[in-house]
Symmetry: C2
Subunit: 361 residues, 2 copies
Amino acid sequence: MSAPAHLENDTLLRALARQPTPYTPVWLMRQAGRYLPEYNATRARAGDFLTLAKTPALATEVTLQPLERFPLDAAILFSDILTVPDAMGLGLAFAAGEGPRFARPVRDEAAIAKLAVPDPARELRYVLDAVREIRKALRGRVPLIGFSGSPYTLACYMVEGSGSSDWQTLKTMLYARPDLAHRILALNARAVTDYLNAQIEAGAQAVMIFDTWGGTLSHEGYETFSLGYTRRVIAALRKEADGYPVPCILFTKGGGQWLEAMAASGADALGLDWTTDPRSARRRVGAQVALQGNLDPMALLAPPEAVRREARKVLDAFGPGAGHVFNLGHGISQYTAPEAVAELVDEVRTYSARMRTSSGP
Amino acid sequence: MSAPAHLENDTLLRALARQPTPYTPVWLMRQAGRYLPEYNATRARAGDFLTLAKTPALATEVTLQPLERFPLDAAILFSDILTVPDAMGLGLAFAAGEGPRFARPVRDEAAIAKLAVPDPARELRYVLDAVREIRKALRGRVPLIGFSGSPYTLACYMVEGSGSSDWQTLKTMLYARPDLAHRILALNARAVTDYLNAQIEAGAQAVMIFDTWGGTLSHEGYETFSLGYTRRVIAALRKEADGYPVPCILFTKGGGQWLEAMAASGADALGLDWTTDPRSARRRVGAQVALQGNLDPMALLAPPEAVRREARKVLDAFGPGAGHVFNLGHGISQYTAPEAVAELVDEVRTYSARMRTSSGP
């Protein structure tokens, strides 16, 4: 792969393709978020989170904010993981200080019968407009990552109606009426496929599937209810746009026990949470996929020297070889000081460049 | 090991020693709990949870309740995992509908300097009285399991002051001031050792260490802050009482990636949560330890036939070989119907006996 002509910095795409890079590219999950005062200012102007997410000009503004502060190697579309079920008409809302909630959860045959795969060009047009506007605003500085929740993670909220510590309603369906769960998941797989392909057509240069809750399933359940459907999505994704490959990153929080199966899913890269040992992860997946991760987000609450030390530990554990994208093991905490992110990004850049000089690519 | 003369049913102890048993022994984490109407009645009489836990006669009553209903193969001491820090003077309280909360969390040098290892015979006498009273009430029907939170899990609540989704306060200490964390953990290790040894002296015939939050640490952090201290505890435990071995079970929720290290900790058995594949767990730990687990507690919310099917899947995955104790992968949900537990226990008993007949021990 030659450097996409329209990109000044293609380090992320090269690392996802497991090609050598002069340093380890870095971006952070939820890098456009509440730890940034400028984000909070934009959000206050928007009035609420959903308006922020649904207004392309504002989504563009916040997507670019972290790039103005830090030399990050990627932008990630500012959006919510629940846009797809919202487009299905489930009525997404965010109460103050609470997580997402659906007014019309999907819990029986009748509700399932009413579900339909949204047409991204219509019901999710605001996301595609945001992708186009962000690409324009980026002017080729770094690639733009699009994303979606996984079919299973969407189903978690669709059935439960909100976040949960044990997903009791959904789990009861999985054990008592797996046929109903499979109908929802099959529909979600088609919806996520269409959604991600539309993002790619609109300009996303890589995509990431967030399987935030797949790790709460049993070993067998993960294959049956999560990975099986994610695999369908990946198989049906557009593999390139404008002549350039569009890599796909799969992140299952709590999925460290299942890396071999995830690596065989067709994904180009796996996101690792902070509980997974990068050395053993690399041994287990071989050269099949790139790896992304995996600093504990809480490490950013420590003083600068500790942040830099922990960043070096992560880089050492992944090693100087090709195919590592530095990230956190989960979204950045709202209590993070922006200065800590500056320290982190600087350390990743300088230390990873030095690693390559001292030990070769 | 010959059958302890004072036990009618020593199936649990034999399985923990990886000896053949005629069927797979079964008990359930939190088996004395809110899913039982008789438990709720006793708790209502007590007035509140802490009074229930601190009154030996009431703790004895609820410990025995599940054994009256189901042919379980073990009793587990009814108590709380936070008795030790409560005995250190941190002021444990349970607000209605909330989890535990400490009035005086431990967050700085001054607070740490005031900490002392409690004398179980004094500050935790009510637990030891309960152990003695339960042993008497059991009259040798099944063994009694004693337990404690792990040094790390105790520290989670001691520093944070309550439960948490990200343990921000504690994690900040781990990264910013690991020296402070190590002082708390070293003290906790001594306190847990004394506490478990006192339970063994009072009559506990097996002990379990609940490392409920070790799984929220990084790979490296788990060794440094959790397993390292649990290992100290296990090394200093009384290995027998009245001439009989007292096995130790270690359960780290979310610890499935670290089974090899846990198996080398000196524990006789490892508890597995429901995300871990029993087949690969057995391959990884070999014959070094017995394994306990690991049905998803949510499976008990399904109808009887599904409960029985899921129980058989777990038994098949562990196989008919010696060294399996059936349990849930986490505490039983308060929304479980007692009838579902009856179905489960019956299926484990009959199916596991049949497995042995058809394929030999």
